[in-house]
Each structure stands twice: as C-alpha cells, then as structure tokens.
Amino acid sequence: MKLTLSWLKDHLDTPAPLEDILYALTDLGLEVEEVDNPAEKLGSFRICQVIEAVPHPNADRLRLCRVATYPGGPGTAMQEVQVVCGAPNARTGLIGVFAPVGTHVPGTGVDLKPGVIRGVESNGMLCSERELMLSDNHDGIIDLPADAPLGQRFIDYRGLNDPMIHIKVTPNRPDALGIRGIARDLAARGLGTLKALPVPQISAKFTSKINVHIAPDLKAKGCPHFAGRTIRGVTNRPSPNWLQDRLKAIGLRPISALVDITNYFTYGLNRPLHVFDATKVKGDLRIHAATGGEAFLALDGKTYTVRPGDMLISDDTGPESLAGIIGGDASGCTPDTTEVFLESAFWDAITIATTGRALKINSDARYRFERGVDPAFTLPGLDLATQMILDLCGGDASAIVQDGQAPDTTRAYRLDTARVVSLVGMDIPEVEQRKTLEQLGFTLNGNMATAPSWRPDVLGEADLIEEIARVASLTKLQGTPLRRGQPGVPKPILTPIQTRERTARRTLAALGYNECVTYSFIDNTAATLFGGGTDAVQIDNPISTELTHLRPDLLPGLLRAAARNQARGFADMALFEVGPAFHGGEPGEQHLQAAGLLIGAAAPRDPHSTRRPLDVFDAKADAEAVLAAIGAPSRTQITRKTAAWFHPGRSGNIGLGPNIMATFGEVHPKILNEMNVKGPAMAFTILVANVPLPKVKTPTRPALTLSDLQAVDRDFAFVMDKSVEALTAVNAAMGADKTLIESVKVFDQFTGDKAEAQMGAGKKSLALTVRLQPTDKTLTDADIEAVAAKIVEKVSKATGGTLRT
C-alpha cells in the first residue's frame, strides 16, 4: 500500500515530522518498507531564467546561455552562470529549471561537473522533464510560465515535494488499504487528529434509466448490496495535475478523470468503484452467478472464461463486469464518454477471492474486496465520488438506484482491562485502553466494545487486546522473567528416539562421515528406483521437475549429492544424513532413517599404503557401530533378502527375527548408472525406530564376573562349500557348549582358484578361533579335546564341511 504525505494529511491534521510518522507506522504494525522523498532527489533543482541565448561559436545545434540563478532562493542574490544547452527551445527570456554543478541528475544518472563543451565552459544544466524523471518528455527543456517565481525549488513550485510511503499491510487490516484508515491509526497513537469527512447531499436531477437487480440467491452472500446512479453531461477530460501527481506518486498511471477518480477512492478511502459508460449499457444491470463458460473481455484487454458461480454484472447483451474484480471492455469509459453509471457495491470476500484466484486476476478492487471493505460506506462512498465527478467533469446526477442493503455486521465484545494487563504484561491504564478503542472507531457501552464497520478482522476479545497493545506500543514492552517450570535442576527433555537421532548423527560424524541435509522431495526417477514415486507421495504443484515426490529413502538424495561431488572432482567420500523418509502420503507416514554412503577409497594415497577400496564390510562395520551406539542388542541375525537397489549378492539385513534394523551392502550397479554415480558405492540404511528400546531403564550395570581361571583359545579350519555362510559355522560352534564357549570368531577365509585347487572345486576354507572360559576349574587336556570334538561335529553337521587337516 502506497500513499503520499500530503494525501495522508488530507485526513490527518498533524504537525508531526515525517520521521515521527514513519516510526509510528512501523510500530503500529503498518511496517514501512520504503520511503521515497523527492526532496532528497530533486531538492537542488531551482527555477531560473535565461538572460540571453546565443548560438554556440563552434556548434550549429548548441546554444550558449547566460542563466540567472538564485541558489539562495527567491529574492536572494542572482548568480549568473554560463550553460551550453542543446535544447531547441533554449531562448532568451525562457523561465526554466536549473541544476547547478554537483547535482545528481536522476534521469541520466550523471553527477554534474564543470565542463567544457566544444571549447566553451558550461557550469550546470537546464533540465528537461525526463532528466527529472517526471515524464518521458525530452523534446526540450522545461518551459515555465512567466509568473514562475525565480529561485523557488521546482519541486515546491510543481507540488512534487510529497514523500511517498510504501507500507506492508497485513491481511487483517483492510481498513489500512485506504489512506484514511492509516490516518485513523496515527490519530489513535496521538500523532494528530482525524479530519472529518463530510458526505455531500447530492441533489437528484433525474431518475436513472438504468436500474439494478441482484439475483435472489446472491443477496444472502455474494452481493448483499449494490448501488449506483447515472451521471449525464460529463466531460471525461484528463484529471487535474494535483490528482495526476498523487496517482503517479503511488505508481498509478493517470488515464482520464473518471478512471482516476475511481482509483482515488480505492486508495484514499478503500472504496473501490466502477464507472460504466451508460450509453453502452443496454437495459438494466443484473448481478447474478455465471452459468459458466461465458467469455468476457475485461478492461485489461484479456478475455476470461468465467466458471459456474462466478459473479457477473450483465446487461441485456451479456456480461459487462466481473463483479468486484474487473470491469468489462465493452462498457468501459473513453474520452468521449458523456454519460456514466457509477457503481458502489458490497461484495462477499470469499466469493471474490475464489473467482479472482481461479481466473488469476490481480486487481486493486479484488485485493480490497477479498480482505473486506466497509459495508456501511457503500452509499457515502457513492455520494462522495459523485460529487467529485460533478466537480471535475461536470454534469447532473440521478437519484440512487440500489438493491439489497448493507449487511449488519454489528458486534460487541467485552473489554476486560485487567486481562489486557495480564496478557500483555504492560501496565496500560483503563482510561487509556478505552480511549484507544474509541479513537479507532469502537463504540464503548460499559464494558462492551462495538467494532467499527470497517474492521471485519475484529472477531473477539483478543482482538480488542491486540488493538490496545499495538497502539500503546509493543516497543515499550519490558521483558519479565519467565518462572522456571519447576524448581531446581531441569529434567532431561529428550525422548529416547530424539536421543538416538543425535547419537546416530554424532557416531557417524565420529566415524568420518560428512553430514548432508538434502531435500525431502526428489525426482520421480530416483523415487521410483527406491520403491517410491507413487501418486500418494506426489506433490501436486512441485516447484521443479527435480522435486516432485517425497523421498522413500535417504540414499537417492545422498547418491545425487555424491554425483555432484564427483563432478567437482571428489572421488572418495563418506556422506550421511539422518532424517525422515516417507512411506506414504498421509500425515505420520514417515519414519526416521540414518543412511550412510561410501564411495572410493578408505584413504587418500599415502606412504603407509593405507589406501584401499572401500567395500561392503566397511559399510557393515559402520552400520553395526551406529546400531551399537543407539542400543541395539549385540546378537543379531543377518538375512540376505534386501531391497532391489542393493547388489543381490553383496548386501544384507541386520535384524532380530523379522524385524529389520538396518540394511547394508553395495549399491546395485544399475542404480548407480541411472543416477550417474561412478561406483562402486557402499551404503547402509538404519531404521532407527526398529531398534528395540531397553526393557529395563536403570543406570546400574550388570555385575562384572571375572574368572581367575585362564581362558583357552583353540583354532579350527574347516573345508566346506564356498556358498556356506560363515555365520552358520560360527553359530554352530557357539552351540557346542553354551557355558564354556565365550566367543567364536572367524579369523581367516581361504577362497578362490588356489583354494579350490587345493581343496576341490567349489570349496573354501574357513578358520575359526574359539575361546573357552572355564568358570569353576582349570581345563584339562581331556576337557578341551571333548569340547573341540563337539565343535567339529556341530560345525561339520551345520555346514556340511570337514575339519581341514
């Protein structure tokens, strides 16, 4: 919302300087976004006179001017300055506008310096309107009437010294979309008094030929009130300078007096109006819901096809206006218009918003009606605008024609002054609270405050509090300590899952992974590759084709990140992310994942031969480390049926029965290919919530039992089919003696051609070390032999292998 200071002062009687007004506006919630003060830009341009203009000795098209300037203002000493000027109208005696050396000329962006033009000194400039950015006119320099006071600042002479203020109006304040509403706020703040707005009595000279009818089904909601009158004998000339200047200052283009007047009311009083060329209206005007499909050529030159239910104003020939949004081209005013029908109506905000949004029309009228104009101001606004048309365009007005009536929005809420103090925490005296409301237009009756008709946003007691608080100024609010929720040391506040999320993150960083935060939505190709990409997780209005579906998994985001890093020349990387993945499109169909991605080598090249390609067991180690850190039990099962984006032979799940806690493995080469990642790549995904919570919650550890008896290590090597899994052998060995065997570990594996040459085709050797920990007596050789025999038996049976001899 833009306004100018002089326009504001039409409504506000105030001696306050601009700075105070700007501060108050922002503090009141009408945030000042921009101020354009012409005095800062054009203040040094003054009215001057050309004493003599003679041809330039060295250039045919240039003139040498002796200019009388008055740098001290009118009535002060004259200073003669020599200026070289190229304007065709530069002549002896011309009264124009002079810019002295040192001036920044906004239209050219040049800072004036003393110059020599074709051998002749030139010290300043005689200016055109374009150089002052007043218009596009550059045919000649500004040529003022003979009575223009020499030495006066041109902005003062032309009435341009009017600061423009751009404020951000929050959606709850439609009243501030009219300058009068802004003035009212400032008056309530004590920055002046709101001037009266007397509504003229229009004497009806005739009866309008055009009548108006609201379709019965719209009276209750869409259009409760529609009024207008015919004005005949008007002359639609350009509007006067003061009006044009105001409109230009707020960024509107002056068109003609009739159109400018409607804009003037829109911005000045938040009262959008429409003028029809009455001679082009056939029959009466009907306000009705569209049946749908009607094509309508609007004033913006575009044709809109309206939808069923959109409100139209039609005459006998068809739609003449899209109600409350934009007028029609057919009945629009032209310079030749002599008879108009002036419309002032009250439209339902939601209906206007719905139509405006659907047809994508952003007009000043729509903007105001969908936020809410003053329903009680329909007729006063009509009369005020009629008077202005009569004043500027002449003519006679008819009596008002109208249908429906202003909806009664009267409502009152209880003012609880004690609650205001309690809620805001600021001591605002009761008398001040009441005064604030009254100045904002509320009517107080005891403790009941009736909201003014122009404040549709006031819908409860809380709104009264807000009005009082913002006028009292929240800047003055002093902080008051918040009582601690409970005395003493604060209790821990994180849930077990929140703690785990942090632990997983910190563990992975400690393992050397860099944390990424990637978008929750990814492209359809990637989503589909990772088991998602369904309609349920599709975004209806994506901002880019790369961000169309909620991610089913964190790996695609990490793989895309890896591809970008590879393109930047990084070959080795360890990336991770902890965050939500989405298994559906309903609220709550998300789960927390911690995913890691390893690509390249374990280390850069170094003199210690540390570098080696990362492999599945790196991913497995890190997945296990995270699982251990977040409290997963140490005894888990490995299963091989993993998701399709993993290498089928080189991946596994870590789980407890059917509950999968994590998957690790090599990423499927086809996936890498599709996602332009140079592989191989190792990855893991941890399903954080699938790790069971501890059953007992106590900081006490189980007692540590240490045996004084020496443990015994025994090694075994078995020859078995190469497809037999190591864990089968380990579990079998563990089962040989559950009390005596403390641990079984694989310490070697011998596979490949050499192994098969030695042990037979399809065979491998697997070496286990078993630790026996006696608890009550030292083991004898016989004891050890007995357990060893049992281990061999169990492992052989489970693996189909034999002890390697």
């Binding site: 709850n172 309903e586 280390a603």
Partner: protein, 360 residues
C-alpha cells in the same frame, strides 16, 4: 695375599677390555665360574685353619663381589651401547604424513538445533515433533487460518496429490512448524513448554529462498504467561544463542492469524565490513515472529482460553545459523558440497551444552 691383588687387577682389566657380551662371559667363567680362578681359591679355604680361613675368606668374598659388580656394570654398559647402536640405525623420516584418518562433520542445521535445545531445555522446554505431511486442518484451520483467508495464499503451499474420489482437502507439506503447537497441546495438555524444530516447505526458490528450510516453534502455556515473559524468554535465548553479553530486542506490532497480539521481533545489530555484530550498533534486523496464542488456537487444541494463556514464536533455523556463523548462502545448505560441509560443519564431539558454552 699379594696374589689377590694381582688377581683383582687381572680380572678388572679383563672386564674392562671385554668387547662384547660373549667375551665378558668368558671373563666371568674364568673368574667366577665353577672352575674359575676365584672359585678355586674359595675351594682352597677349606684347607686353612679357622683364623686364616676367616681372614682369607673375607678378602676372597670382597674380591668376588668386586669382580661381580664390575661384570654387571660392564654388561649393562655393553647392552646400552648395543641398544644405542640399534637406535642409531632405526631412523625414520618423521616428517612423513601420519596415517590418514577420515574426519566427519555435523551439518550446521543439526548443530544449531542442538544449541536451541540446550538453551530451551534449561528453561524447561521439551522438544515436540510432528508430521511433515500435514492435513490442512492442522496446518491452517486449527491455527485460525480459514480456507479463504488471504494468509493461506501467502504461504506458497505445496499440496499433496489427492486420489480421484478422495474428497478430503489435499494434505500439505507443512508450511511452518506451528501445527506442532496443536498436536503438542492436544497430546500433552497444559501447562506446556515445548520447542518444535524441523523441516518446513514453501514454494519459493531464488537467491535467498529454498523450497525446504528449517524452523523452530516455541510454545509456553500456563495460567499467567504474558507477552512480557515472551520478550524476556527471547532476550535470554538470543543472548545465550549468539553468545554475547547482552542483546536488545524490539517488538513491532504485526499480524499472524494464530497469535494475538502479534509482534515481529527485531534485534539490535551492526553491519560493518560484511561482519554482523549482534547486541550493538544502530541497525535492527528482523529475526522472528511471535505473539500470544490466539484463543481460537487454544480452543482448537482442546485448551480452555479462559483458564490458560501463553506465547508462541517461530524462527528460521537456517537463518539464525547463517547469522551466527557467517554463512552467506542459504541454498548451499542443501547442496552437500563436500567443501562446504567440511568448512561450515562441526566436529563430532562439538556437542553444544550450557556448561561448556555452545560453540566453544
């Protein structure tokens, strides 16, 4: 017993001259071995009378001890010399690089979330969470943003696909963390103090906007919590978060559908040479929106607004991370550029806590 002096001189010289451990062993055997010269002398003691024996025995024992000590001393000296010789050859170029170790990092968003949590935990705020796909009721209606309210249009909302025949309004990607207010109050009742950090989504992508970013919501409801308490809480938060001795906040009246009164909050700062300093200077920078929770919002969450009141605020996590740590570009947060992650990331053990200071 002149013979003993000769013997002593002979063996001490031999010990001193022994070039290595085996030569030294030969000396020991020759002197103190079973058949050694001194052992032989000891054996001869038996033939002496007791007085003679006592005197000679004492001298022999002394000689034996002396030679033994010399042998041990020489042995230690030889061992040291051998070790020194070994060490002399065991030279390594210790200027070679150490064995490489991968250094991981924590993303600034995660770090700042933990900082926020540490500060608010001390003030008794728990951490609440909510779904990122939200029903429009939680994201809008319950927060006093009815369907046709212009504020809804200003949210640049992402809508989820609706299957044909499903007549429910489409779900949205939450446009703010405020719906967590409703869920937390509904689940936990009152009094309540929570913060809700997390991802939010808006259809906006340019130099300073990304379609996903992070917000933290704060909510405190009790019998008598006021806007002055809100101001104090935010002052304390900003002071602790930005790790400055004092901060100055300015509340500016504004409008949010879910709070009333509402205020935008500016913080005093200075910009000089591209450097932001919080708590000093003559500039004001907007950092968050806040207000007293609207009675309709309390009602929507099943809380009686005649009995309970309190405040809520929301602020951008990425934004305060940028301000605190001098990170220039929001878009880079989600680019996963390794150079950026390493430069702006935090070490695994940089765990923010109030005892040690958040960022030290």
């Amino acid at each position: 017993m002149d013979g003993l002096d000769t013997l002593k001189a002979k063996y001490l010289t031999a010990v001193a001259n022994a070039a290595d451990e085996s030569a030294l062993e030969e000396v020991r055997v020759a002197a103190l071995g079973k058949k050694g010269e001194i052992s032989a002398q000891m054996a001869s003691l038996g033939k002496m009378d007791p007085d003679q024996r006592r005197a000679a025995g004492a001298m022999l024992n002394a000689l034996k001890d002396e030679i033994d000590a010399a042998l041990r001393g020489r042995k230690a000296g030889l061992a040291d010399a051998a070790l020194n010789e070994r060490l002399r050859t065991e030279w390594l170029d210790v200027t070679l690089p150490a064995r490489p170790r991968r250094i991981g990092t924590i993303h600034p968003v995660s770090q700042v979330m933990e900082e926020l949590t540490a500060i608010f935990a001390d003030m008794g705020f728990a951490v609440a969470e909510g779904p990122q796909v939200e029903s429009d009721w939680y994201n809008f209606d319950a927060l006093n943003i009815p369907p046709e309210h212009p504020a809804r249009q200003e949210h640049d909302t992402f809508f989820m696909h609706r299957a044909e025949g499903d007549t429910r309004p489409p779900h949205v990607l939450r446009t703010h963390t405020s719906p967590v207010q409703i869920r937390a109050m509904t689940e936990q009742g009152t009094p309540i103090r929570v913060i809700a950090p997390g991802r939010v989504y808006r259809m906006d992508m340019d130099q300073t906007h990304t379609p996903m970013f992070h917000q933290v919501e704060g909510l405190a409801i009790d019998r008598d919590i006021s806007m002055a308490n809100l101001k104090w809480t935010l002052e304390e938060f900003c002071r602790a978060f930005f790790e400055v001795p004092s901060v100055e906040l300015r509340f500016r009246a504004s409008h949010f559908p879910f709070t009333e009164p509402s205020a935008e909050v500016d913080i005093r700062c200075s910009w000089a040479g591209g450097q932001l300093k919080i708590g000093q200077g003559d500039k004001w920078m907007e950092i968050l929106g806040s207000g007293m929770v609207h009675p309709k919002v309390l009602t929507a969450a099943g809380v009686d607004p005649t009995q309970w009141q309190g405040f809520a605020f929301g602020m951008g996590i990425d934004r305060i991370a940028m301000l605190k740590y001098g990170i220039p570009d929001l878009r880079a947060f989600f680019e996963s550029d390794l150079r950026w992650l390493r430069h702006y990331g935090f070490a695994a053990l940089d765990m923010p806590d109030l005892a040690g200071g958040l960022s030290s």
